[in-house]
């Protein structure tokens, strides 16, 4: 992780960005284009997940899991974690249904880009 962190920092400075910035919040925007599952997942992620896993999945990854490195071939593990909770992560069973979790999985696969 420390290597990743240093790389990211260099990247920020090299790009000359003045701000440590990232998208937060949660809402359904009034988009005109038909939303993809990843779009729906992004909105759900913003309202339900970003508070712990970070805006756009950008996180130090110490307490909260860094979803950008969730193995792509382990969707069942993802579904189990979301429904039942894991460590400090709460169980979302009863709030997020199968369709919502599919959308979140589609978003996780984008790696936040």
């Amino acid at each position: 992780m420390s290597t990743t962190s240093r790389t990211t920092r260099r990247g920020l400075l090299a790009a000359g960005l003045l701000s440590l910035s990232a998208i937060v919040g949660g809402a359904s925007a009034d988009d005109t284009a038909p939303p993809t599952p990843a779009d729906a997942g992004r909105r759900l992620y913003s309202s339900h997940c970003s508070r712990c896993h970070g805006p756009n999945m950008v996180t130090p990854g110490t307490v909260a899991y860094d979803l950008r490195r969730f193995p792509e071939d382990q969707k069942p593990r993802f579904v189990l974690s979301v429904l039942g909770g894991r460590g400090a992560m709460p169980a979302w069973n009863g709030i997020l249904d199968a369709e919502a979790i599919d959308a979140l999985w589609a978003y996780v696969l984008t790696r936040g880009r």
């Binding site: 990211t8 701000s19 130090p60």
Partner: protein, 561 residues
């Protein structure tokens, strides 16, 4: 308590203590709670005194001797989720809480005497969105009180840790949660609820400390027909209007008034709740026995940026316009430092202590903010604006201290702004409810500043810059030392008069807590919890914190002989 207050003001409380104190052990009484700031052998209240100055008259550790400060003991708190509590100390025993644990510790050796563990369901984190933390216990008559993440209040036998009573405050599956350190005022145990990001309706409650019976509940959002309801639209918006009360209030025994900050209106986006939305983003002055509202002041009418009004309320005697006043001070998340007359709520001063662009100024005559052109435009059109501060605030929950020696407030100030756009979001019980889209903007080279603030002007007499935003409380002493920590885990001492860095020690994790100092057997001790957490760690996306390991522990320091 202010040291200059004449002693007779304490007598009614002392008398009450004699009548009602449990006689079995030497238990801390109401009179001892009221005298907390002036009796540094104990730390009995959140804020190190009812006036929450976090100032100690101890002076063994001073600007000269602090270089000899070394660790005496360290104890793991078995906690990965942020250590934010202020410990209490009574007769050589330290009491400390995390989200799930309560500990009694031999304050001199660091050895645990007893522990009490809470058990939560796997869905508990949904309610505790801002962190599964606790901010500390309260003490009265041999009982130790704390709140729980699943919205209960419990009392433990301070000697054994045995549970004496447990009272339910709310249904946590609807997004209600508690992290607050309770306040004991005039014999009543007072707590507030957290619910601001779930479309809850906030309140404060009074409990019988002996039995856990609920004595009163004061909602912070009025129902239709009640005073203040005219500041809400004629819809059901009030039923999910927010107004959480998640930080401990202060108390003036002479006036018998409890002061409690009330948080954000809900959802953050204000488009569907036109009006001032009392009593959100306000301070309430209440009678502890009944919860009766005596006066209120609203910091941010129709709050749309989650500015809150929860931050700690610090008492002091301050000269404003040549007149000595008994005041209440709050460094609000909205970036203004407010000074109010605590007898009647009159606004005496309100100056920006960090960059603020949501308002041009606070009008001292009307007491209302003069909103900036940018905010007015956003309210009118719904367009995105960039505004300072962000919801992280000009200062977050981590408490400031006040030194009567220097007349200055010591606060970790945040320097940040955000792009903010209102959005639509349907309400769903138990789910987060904020209805906006935003982008944080922290300067990666200067996220915050430790400032020594003049309360009346809001200007810094000295300041010390931080690279990463700082969420540690501060502690001031008569030795003219200011203690604070950093996200990267350093525990530091500064000269209160000029900001010179005097001493530092690297702890095992980031510090996001509330340091205290106390005395035993003629030796001064300083205790601080280390254990990174806070909404900044989780929600800011600051990857530099990848090298700061989580995991809580308590550190106690003293001077080498």
């Amino acid at each position: 308590m202010n040291p200059s207050r004449p002693l007779p003001a304490l007598l009614p409380a002392a008398l009450a203590a004699c009548l009602f104190a449990a006689p079995a052990v030497h238990a801390q009484t109401a009179a001892e709670l009221a005298a907390d700031q002036d009796t540094p052998g104990d730390v009995l209240t959140s804020g190190m005194g009812y006036g929450q100055q976090r100032f100690s008259p101890l002076r063994q550790i001073d600007t000269r001797t602090v270089s000899r400060l070394v660790p005496v003991w360290n104890m793991s708190t078995n906690n990965m989720l942020g250590d934010e509590a202020q410990p209490l100390v009574h007769e050589g025993v330290m009491y400390y809480t995390t989200g799930k644990s309560t500990y009694a510790i031999n304050a001199l050796t660091g050895r645990m005497l007893w522990k009490h563990e809470l058990d939560y369901g796997p869905d508990i984190g949904r309610a505790a969105l801002s962190g599964q933390v606790n901010r500390g216990p309260a003490l009265l008559d041999g009982r130790l009180f704390r709140t729980t993440l699943d919205a209960h209040v419990i009392a433990l036998d301070a000697k054994t840790g045995k549970e004496l009573w447990k009272s339910k405050s709310a249904d946590y599956t609807k997004g209600y949660s508690m992290s607050v350190a309770p306040l004991v005022a005039n014999g009543i145990l007072i707590t507030g609820i957290g619910c601001g990001e779930h479309g809850g309706r906030g309140y404060l409650e009074g409990w019988d400390p002996a039995t856990g019976r609920q004595l009163w509940r004061r909602y912070t959002v009025p129902a239709p027909g009640e005073a203040g309801s005219e500041t809400w639209p004629a819809t059901d918006a009030w039923t999910r209007g927010g107004g959480p009360a998640w930080l401990t209030g202060s108390y003036d025994p002479a006036l018998d008034l409890v002061y409690w900050g009330v948080g954000n209106a809900s959802p953050w986006n204000a488009q569907d709740r036109k009006g001032d939305n009392l009593y959100t983003a306000s301070v309430l002055a209440m009678r502890p026995k009944t919860g009766e509202l005596v006066w209120h002041y609203q910091f941010t009418p129709n709050d749309t940026f989650d500015y809150d009004g929860n931050n700690e309320l610090v008492h002091a005697d301050v000269t404003v316009d040549g007149k000595r006043r008994k005041v209440l001070m709050q460094a609000n998340r909205n970036g203004y430092l407010y000074v109010l007359d605590r007898a009647n709520g009159a606004l005496l001063a309100a100056n920006a202590f960090t960059k603020t662009t949501w308002a041009d100024r606070i009008d001292l005559v009307t007491g209302r903010p003069v909103e900036s052109a940018a905010l007015k435009r956003m309210r009118e059109t719904g367009e995105q604006i960039t505004v300072a501060p962000s919801a992280f605030g000009g200062k977050n929950w981590n408490p400031m201290s006040f030194s009567p020696n220097t007349g200055l407030l010591y606060a970790n100030v945040l320097d940040n702004e955000w792009d903010y756009k209102p959005a639509k979001q349907p309400y769903e019980a138990g789910a987060p409810f904020i209805a906006m889209e935003a982008k944080w903007r922290f300067d990666p080279k200067a996220g915050g500043t430790l400032k020594a603030l003049d309360p009346v002007t809001g200007k810094a007499k000295w300041q010390h810059p931080w690279t990463i935003a700082n969420f540690s409380g501060t502690l001031a002493t008569a030795g003219d030392v200011v203690f604070t920590g950093t996200m990267e885990g350093e525990f530091l001492a500064f000269n209160a008069k000029n900001g010179e860095k005097l001493w530092s020690f690297q702890t095992g994790s980031g510090i996001v807590s509330q340091p205290i100092t106390w005395e035993h057997g003629g030796r001064q001790y300083v205790t601080v919890a280390s254990g990174i957490g806070t909404v900044y760690l989780y929600f800011a996306g600051d990857e530099r914190l990848a090298t700061i390991p989580p995991g809580g522990s308590l550190w106690t320091f003293a001077l080498t002989p």
